[in-house]
Symmetry: C2
Subunit: 152 residues, 2 copies
């Protein structure tokens, strides 16, 4: 294989640890855009290794593929992304991660205060309406841990 012919899908799979089928799936989802060689086989740039690695990391952070695609679409189109380009788009992760951590921490502390102590009494419990799930399904808040606000 000569220089500048690009990487085959198998080489990319071996380097990233992804399955070949996963890489094809990511192409179908618009996460990578390989070109084709004379025989119709996919050929990838070396920077696609980094692109796929970014996908893998972002998935561990709980991002969906469309969300990841949106981030990747912010990379420059005409040239190979630089370190600064990557640093820029990973900055958006930082905020999302901070939020996830904060939410989990709040829930954990609520658990300590509410279930952990055995009080189990809503609505003055912090687990009441803990996330944005409330309102998703019809009117009215969703009461947790088995008590309604008005005594019955």
């Amino acid at each position: 294989m000569r220089v500048n012919e690009g990487l085959s899908i198998g080489a990319l799979a071996e380097r990233t640890g992804l399955a070949v089928s996963a890489i094809r799936y990511y192409e179908a989802q618009g996460l990578i855009n390989p070109w084709r060689n004379a025989g119709g086989q996919r050929r990838f740039q070396r920077s696609d290794l980094r692109r796929l690695s970014f996908v893998m990391i972002a998935q561990q952070f709980g991002f969906t593929l469309p969300q990841i695609r949106a981030e990747l679409d912010r990379l420059p189109g005409g040239r190979t992304p630089t370190k600064a380009d990557w640093a820029k788009i990973s900055g958006g992760f930082r905020e999302t991660l901070d939020q996830k951590i904060e939410t989990l921490t709040r829930l954990r502390d609520s658990l300590d205060g509410c279930i952990g102590c055995g009080c189990l009494s809503l609505p003055n419990c912090a687990l009441y309406n803990p996330t944005d799930r409330a309102g998703e399904k019809g009117p009215g808040p969703r009461y947790l841990m088995g008590d309604t606000p008005k005594r019955d």
Copy 2:
């Protein structure tokens, strides 16, 4: 509806905010065990409200239904669970949550140090092999962010 006849599935749905179909699904998964009235309709204990609330909270923490079922199976069989019973099984959550928070925090800090600074150089990056995903898919570690440990 007289006392001690139990709650209908609709009443349970209204109280918890869950869909009726979801409650039936949870029964199929063994998370709750209602009895049937003369006409074959499900009837629930009041403590099932708390049981379902526990399910909802646990899901927000990222537990799967089988995992939640395993926790619920630790509740006493013959009697209505007490506050102490709930406090006991929620204690298991505490550890898992602590771990999740720690993992996320570590990943966030790694992101700062590795991508955030633009170094992008593995294998001395903390995002290298960041979770237990490594080893899942065949031999060898999975290298992230596009570099292999040996220079090529």
